[in-house]
Symmetry: C2
Subunit: 291 residues, 2 copies
């Protein structure tokens, strides 16, 4: 089913929000797209790129008659936006978000919204270390997975519509429990990002480092160029899983350290082989693509 809407409000017109607007407008899925930004300059870029039809600094102006509202702000702003939408949007509006952590946000909605709930959390596995509407692309979501909240007391129509929305712009949706989502994402995204930042920091204060910095380091640290405040919010809204997964990572690095210090060739072979196998398993096309 293709999802079509009269009035769409995209709150936050950064890379993800502006790309969503572009994708919907290019496919004729929305009669009008309202964008909400914190700065007029950012809205102006989104307008210039035709990612939105109208720009607003106050979310209330954008959501008043919206039948679809997508919250695309950093994680830290989502709870207050949820409150604002609950209090000011039409009770028939269908609402979702794009945040990289889900439990804090979905718990907040579950405890403050009426049931059956018409806010359904989403997390598109799209984006990059680039940010801002100037990097928006109408094909950003094509072929990407979008993880969609599965929980009790959700409105069936809202659920189906949120799945349709993402599939209409080329994504593949997967149902997931918010707590399970955050547990897995700590392992596949949040702690790997911290590791990339920590690896980048190893090169600090080393003179003339450039000839020594090869393609491997470039790949490993690429995501460390992303926005600090985005990753801060992700860590704070998934603190428990991030913290315990960091313990796991540190323990594994300590195993490597011990094997190096003891010149344990066999142990190092096994550790590197385990890393190689895990990498192949995670990205093997035949490894299944459902939860």
């Amino acid at each position: 089913m293709t999802a079509r809407f009269q009035s769409v409000a995209i709150i936050g017109t950064g890379l993800l929000g502006a790309s969503l607007g572009l994708a919907m407008k290019q496919r004729g899925l929305a009669q009008v797209v309202h964008g909400v930004g914190r700065r007029q300059s950012s809205l102006d870029i989104a307008l210039e790129r035709s990612a939105i039809d109208r720009g607003h600094l106050d979310p209330k102006d954008a959501i008043l008659d919206a039948d679809l509202i997508v919250i695309c702000t950093p994680a830290g702003f989502v709870p207050e936006m949820l409150d604002c939408v609950r209090d000011h949007a039409s009770p028939n509006a269908i609402v979702t978000d794009v945040t990289s952590t889900k439990r804090t946000i979905c718990d907040h909605a579950a405890s403050t919204w009426q049931k059956p709930r018409r806010f359904i959390g989403s997390h598109p596995m799209a984006g990059s270390e680039s940010f801002g509407p100037e990097h928006a692309a109408s094909n950003l979501y094509e072929g990407r997975y979008v993880l969609v909240e599965s929980a009790p007391n959700l409105d069936d129509v809202a659920c189906a519509t949120v799945h349709d929305l993402w599939e209409s712009i080329g994504a593949i949706t997967v149902d997931v429990d918010p707590a399970e989502h955050d547990h897995l994402l700590a392992r596949t995204s949040h702690v790997p990002h911290i590791a990339a930042a920590a690896v980048a920091m190893l090169t600090r204060n080393q003179r003339g480092i450039r000839p020594f910095a090869g393609g491997g380091l470039r790949d490993i640290t690429r995501v460390a160029a992303g926005r600090p405040e985005l990753w801060r919010d992700i860590c704070l809204t998934n603190a428990e899983s991030v913290s315990s997964t960091l313990d796991d990572l540190i323990a594994t690095l300590q195993e490597f350290k011990d094997a190096v210090a003891e010149e344990d060739a066999n142990g190092l072979d096994q550790l590197f082989e385990a890393g190689r196998q895990a990498r192949l398993d995670a990205f093997d096309e035949n490894n299944g693509d459902s939860t």
Copy 2:
């Protein structure tokens, strides 16, 4: 100056050795290229690709009348190859290698070869997680840095010739002291590689992980698909620097852990910002490109 040779012996015809043969043959830099492999099947691929002119299982057959010998075996085999070359090659032969660690190998040569030494260590910052002569490319070294040993008691002509060799196939050479090399490479390559393996291992035994594994994880863990024995040898021949750099990495991850556990938003901001700045500095084109 373009380097030209009568008879070149490439010991080890994997990705780096076969690519070197291809690059030299395509540019007419060698009258004949002898390849040495441990398995005939690997030599056959190198011959088929025209990366070498003749294949040998015994290095002595290849080096007898060589005026250039390049040791392209994994780090663990280099000392015995150095002994073999010293005992069986012409004393006029110029010798180098391509190993990712330099101190162990250069120290071995310094203590066992006559002075002035005609073995000069090299480390091309080229390669990938792919391996074997089937992935060889004549342009593998183009635009890449090659770190070349700088030390007392090196033969001037041998030194100049090794620089010319790499520059003749499109690389940029940089002089470096072997101990300084290993110190820096632990930070820019060896420990980052361990981190990539350890991050990949976080995804083990998680069912249906594929939809949760995005582009960031793919980049961060790419090098973890490389050959375990190669990275084992690198760790064992640079144990001291790898070990102390791993301590640094673990300490930084512990700082992240503490900031997450204490919900220290400001501390997390500063840590991610430090990672971002280090990443930008390491790969900033304007950041200087000499040691």
